[in-house]
């Protein structure tokens, strides 16, 4: 059990690259915390700093209030699961799981029941005599997890543990990890570049970009109120549609439609350029004869249709102005309705679901519409 604090942690390399800019993060005791971002964003570096494999250039790491910055990993009692599992190829599954206990100087009698318990929990009982080369990807992943569990660490640090598995197994292991976390109640810090994993597993998620934390929040808040354009574009699939807009005469002018400004947006000065974010579900398909506020409806030509069973996504283009001749957009539609590629489709914008960002800084404008009561 541990509360992990990173206090103004930064990491510079001798060649001048900055892996992590000064970062402050607190991971609560028992929390499932996710570090997510594209490759090279510094998420693995942060994890290595927590466990002690990498020394930070500045700042302090604290576990339960105790500074551990200078301590060797062995003094921190954190367990790590690596992307390639890092199982010892010359040892059997049982020996792999027992390794941390053996290093701690436990004797055979003390080790056996603990190895057996970890193996049982992860359904590895029948594989204890095998070597890693004889295991499937999912089994190796479980061995790595069992090895991490066996010495009852204060926290689990997982570095992209599912990225080497095929899609189906990944979903299954995701489920197992979530269950394991509920059962053990131990702090877990999980690094991934996959926003789906971040959204489904995390209680709180830190989104990183180029060594800087962009936002730390629950998955829901990240989705519904992204702090900036990067988070808006990174979380959610398909990604948020982004369009240039301008406030003119009390309305928000988009390339294809004009929307009434939400009440709270009255603070936006006339003529201010903004970037408007619309999730695919912010579009509603309307029939020609339906009575919707006409000014919100526009017609677009269908370019591509993705049908996923429960959802359908329509890709379309709208004419732009200036530098952008076209904007490629995606709308979610009810899959029951027939959509033909090349045919026009009528869409309405649900103004309650729009996000506004400063056109220059990309920061969220807090005057953005919230859900209507």
């Amino acid at each position: 059990m541990a509360r992990i604090e990173l206090d103004d942690i930064s990491k510079h390399y001798p060649d001048g690259t900055v892996a992590v800019h000064p970062t402050r993060l607190t991971i609560e005791d028992g929390e499932f915390f996710i570090l997510v971002g594209p490759s090279g964003c510094g998420k693995s570096t942060l994890l290595n700093i927590m466990v002690g494999l990498t020394a930070p250039t500045a700042g302090e790491v604290r576990v339960d209030g105790r500074a551990v910055t200078g301590l060797d990993p062995r003094a921190r009692n954190m367990a790590m699961v690596f992307q390639n599992y890092a199982l010892y190829p010359h040892m059997t599954v049982a020996e792999n799981i027992a390794f941390p206990l053996r290093m701690a100087g436990l004797d055979k009698r003390e080790m056996e029941p603990r190895v057996a318990a970890a193996a049982k929990m992860l359904e590895l009982d029948d594989l204890l005599g095998r070597r890693p080369a004889e295991l499937s990807g999912g089994q190796r992943q479980r061995v790595a997890m069992a090895r991490a569990m066996v010495r009852e660490p204060v926290a689990f640090l997982l570095d992209e543990p599912l990225s080497n598995l095929d899609a189906r197994l990944r979903v299954q292991m995701r489920d197992e990890l979530a269950r394991l976390h509920r059962r053990l109640g131990t702090t877990m810090v999980y690094v991934t570049h996959d926003q789906t994993e971040a959204m489904t597993l995390g209680q709180r998620v830190a989104v990183l970009r180029e060594g800087r934390v962009q936002q730390v929040d629950s998955p829901r808040t990240l989705y519904e109120a992204p702090a900036n354009l990067f988070v808006a574009g990174f979380m959610g699939a398909p990604t948020m549609n982004l369009l240039p807009g301008v406030v003119r005469g009390g309305v928000l002018v988009l390339p294809m439609v004009e929307l009434p400004l939400p009440a709270a947006a009255g603070l936006l000065e006339e003529g201010r350029p903004v970037t408007v974010g619309l999730r695919p579900e912010a579009f509603v398909r309307v029939a020609e004869d339906e009575h919707v506020a006409r000014e919100r409806v526009f017609e677009a030509r269908v370019e591509r249709v993705e049908w996923l069973g429960a959802d359908g996504f329509v890709h379309f283009e709208v004419a732009g102005s200036g530098d952008h001749a076209h904007h490629r957009l995606v709308a979610r539609v009810a899959p029951a309705l027939a959509v033909t590629v090349g045919a026009p489709v009528c869409l309405a914008v649900d103004a309650d679901h729009l996000h506004l960002f400063d056109a220059h800084s990309g920061q969220r404008l807090d005057v953005t519409a919230t859900r209507s009561p």
Binding site: G52, D72, R74, N77, M78, F82, Y88, H90, A133
Partner: protein, 287 residues
């Protein structure tokens, strides 16, 4: 045989023929010679001897003594080389800067011709002109006594071939994934435990290959001994015995028998490594 197989054999043929000409043929020829009484000083007495030459070699004290000497030199030098070579490999592996320079410098002794190295060490240990005695403040005729002569021979071998050992071990060291060592660190292993439980077992194939190469090489030691003592002070090795019998006494039959016995010893050593220690020379494929 398919066309592809035939082409394969055809392409191998030149190399195979060269190997037959320079390796298999001399070996077979020596084997043949070893079965004859054939002394160039008494050419008239040439005749089939059967296993007489072998009986005579294996019955002589000189052979067994030289075999013991060879084993002392082999085991002494290879053991020290393994320890020093490992230390050197670890240093080269962990060097943060001047990495390439360090590797190049470490290789210098290996580039020196053995005869030159042997002479240099002989001069260094010379009681009159050498620098070792004044440095150590002793008055020792190093090559004049059996055990100190062994020491000089082994030191020369160690100096010359440790770089080779180190390079082979370095190759093995680079194959140990960094992630495994990091995992061991997180699992609470100390530096020594990581070396003992992760690095060493994973380097086992590389260590065995290095040991095999160096053992076979050291077992056939000739030039260092020949230059430094000529086999005097009871430092004769099997190769020196073979040379003396062939070139000194011009006894082709007996000398060939010695050569064949050396060959059999080498085969036995290789067999021991491959079978006894489980060295896989072919790369194992993962299931």
């Amino acid at each position: 045989m398919s066309r592809e197989e035939r082409l394969g054999w055809l392409l191998c043929a030149p190399a195979a023929l060269a190997m037959v000409a320079v390796t298999a043929w001399p070996l077979v020829h020596a084997l043949g010679l070893s079965l004859f009484h054939y002394d160039l000083r008494f050419p008239a007495r040439r005749g089939f001897a059967g296993l007489d030459n072998y009986v005579s070699v294996l019955g002589s004290e000189v052979w067994w003594q030289s075999l013991a000497n060879t084993l002392v030199i082999t085991m002494g030098s290879v053991t020290i080389e393994l320890v020093l070579g490992m230390a050197l490999a670890l240093m080269m592996h962990r060097a943060l800067f001047l990495r390439r320079t360090l590797r190049a410098v470490a290789l210098v002794p290996y580039a020196v011709i053995t005869v030159v190295a042997a002479l240099a060490w002989k001069l260094a240990f010379d009681p009159v002109s050498g620098f070792v005695n004044p440095w150590l403040g002793v008055d020792q005729a190093w090559l004049g006594e059996r055990w100190s002569a062994f020491l000089v021979i082994i030191l020369t071998e160690v100096w010359k071939t440790t770089p080779f050992m180190a390079l082979l071990l370095l190759a093995g060291l680079t194959l140990v994934p960094r992630e495994l060592l990091e995992a061991a660190r997180v699992d609470g292993a100390s530096a020594w435990q990581r070396f003992r439980h992760v690095t060493l077992p994973l380097m086992r194939p590389a260590i065995l290959v290095a040991l095999l190469f160096r053992t076979l090489d050291a077992f056939r030691i000739f030039d260092t001994v020949y230059v430094q003592t000529r086999g005097a002070q009871g430092t004769e090795t099997v190769s020196v015995v073979g040379y003396e019998t062939l070139m000194g006494r011009l006894n082709l039959g007996l000398g060939s028998a010695v050569s064949v016995l050396i060959f059999l010893c080498v085969v036995a050593i290789a067999w021991l490594f491959v079978r006894g220690l489980g060295l896989h020379l072919a790369r194992r494929t993962e299931p």
